[in-house]
Symmetry: C2
Subunit: 271 residues, 2 copies
């Protein structure tokens, strides 16, 4: 049994998962977390399932030195391909991904059961969202689209204006201009919520947008409540596999609060 | 002394350096090459000098098993930050980067000595192009601009149309609409030549565009000619650190010829 004051361990390929960390901090202000961003090897979304699984195992191993009470895989790509391996390797430690909570939120939000999922190449290729949605509603019509450029736009801070709006139209118009278009769109990558205005313009006002960060935070809150209360001396630690200064600068946008570069610890996962 | 039939070893963070490999194959059709793309860890351009140097050393070590006659660092970011380390570690083997040939071509092309360099964040931060240009022409006026989104656009195959044109304008308009704008633009990343039409529209018809691939190939040809003639049984080998199928598919665009996925060998540099 882990101590109640043990941190929640969160990992992501980079800084996008800080949207999940922020939602966890809001839902559970009395809990400590340690966040690892594998910025030396991001993005995961264009890489093979084998490589992403290897990276996820290395990241989890690095987080185990903090004796966490659970592991949160904040990266959609890693959740989609590596969750069973991690859950088996670290049982009975809870390992929570973002795909199942996202699928649950989408099924709950969809009036007609027509759901579109936008994600990275790796997540789309693995089909994890399609399987998770169909497990909840076998009649759901699910369409997927890989939007890898959204990751680069979010990282570059080009979140508003012509370029993201054109990119969103190019990726999404054919899906949402078809007969019987989806009524719900899952933002299946932690980078995408910062592009929500451009995405909204491309899909129109009536489509429900689902961001898994809040849903994941609620799921984690329910697990934490069943395993014991909060700790004293709440800490938020950040680890990065490359360039702490860049992690802090770009990451602050996703975290929604300033991260001090001096507080970001550089770690080497390949050693 | 290496055998004349020893291959030329070329490495890049991914598939962009295949533009350099193609130029070498055109300039030296009687030479074999082995090309390594570190697709499991790309892009290098957003990562720190320390991390890029570590990756470049690992890539070079993996290529040494082919007993190459020289090492070509086709990645601008790695050329900009890791070349001295590699040259010292592997002397007397020639180690050729793309920054100095690009700087030479820019100085030769520029009528007025006003040169703009577009590159990745890592290349711009290191300032290697500025130093290399000033070593050749101390009076040159050099302006740099990091264009990281161009890498994602090239990888996504969005090389023509509204999105790359808008992105090119957003990155370049202020530089080229200023008084006394640059007369020469260096494409300081191997991904950028496929975006040349969009870049040309943003900078206007009179600016000289410099792509280092051809210049590098000429430099390599002159080294090869001084060290001995061509070999029999010319082979072109491809190594990738991730997803050979994706390397072949995306890489064929940059190489300008079809790469058979079955001929791409998967290698692990971190082992």
């Amino acid at each position: 049994m882990k101590q109640a004051s043990a941190p929640i361990a969160i990992f992501d390929s980079g800084v996008g998962g800080l949207t999940v960390a922020a939602a966890i901090a809001r839902a559970l202000p009395d809990q400590s977390f340690v966040y690892l961003g594998d910025t030396a090897r991001l993005p995961y979304g264009t890489k093979s399932a084998e490589t992403v699984t290897k990276y996820a195992v290395q990241a989890t191993r690095a987080l185990m030195r903090f004796q966490p009470k659970m592991i949160v895989v904040a990266c959609n790509t890693a959740s989609a391909v590596a969750l069973p391996v991690l859950a088996a390797a670290y049982a009975p430690l809870p390992v929570v991904g973002v795909v199942e909570p996202g699928a649950r939120a989408a099924v709950a939000a969809s009036r007609e059961g027509r759901i579109a999922v936008i994600a990275t190449e790796g997540t789309v290729r693995g089909g994890a969202y399609v399987r998770a949605i169909h497990a909840l509603n076998a009649q759901a019509q699910v369409v997927q689209r890989a939007c890898p450029l959204f990751v680069a736009l979010a990282e570059e801070g080009w979140t508003h204006g012509d370029v993201p709006e054109l990119a969103a139209r190019k990726y999404l118009s054919d899906i949402f201009e078809a007969a019987n278009p989806p009524d719900t769109l899952v933002l299946g990558c932690t980078h995408f919520p910062v592009l929500v205005d451009a995405i909204r313009k491309a899909v129109g006002p009536s489509v429900a947008l689902v961001d898994s960060a809040e849903t994941v935070a609620r799921e984690i809150a329910s697990i934490v409540r069943t395993t014991g209360g909060g700790g004293e001396g709440v800490t938020h630690r950040f680890l990065s596999t490359d360039a702490p200064e860049r992690f802090a600068r770009v990451g602050s946008q996703f975290f929604g609060a300033t991260i001090d570069p001096a507080q970001v610890e550089l770690v080497d996962l390949s050693a």
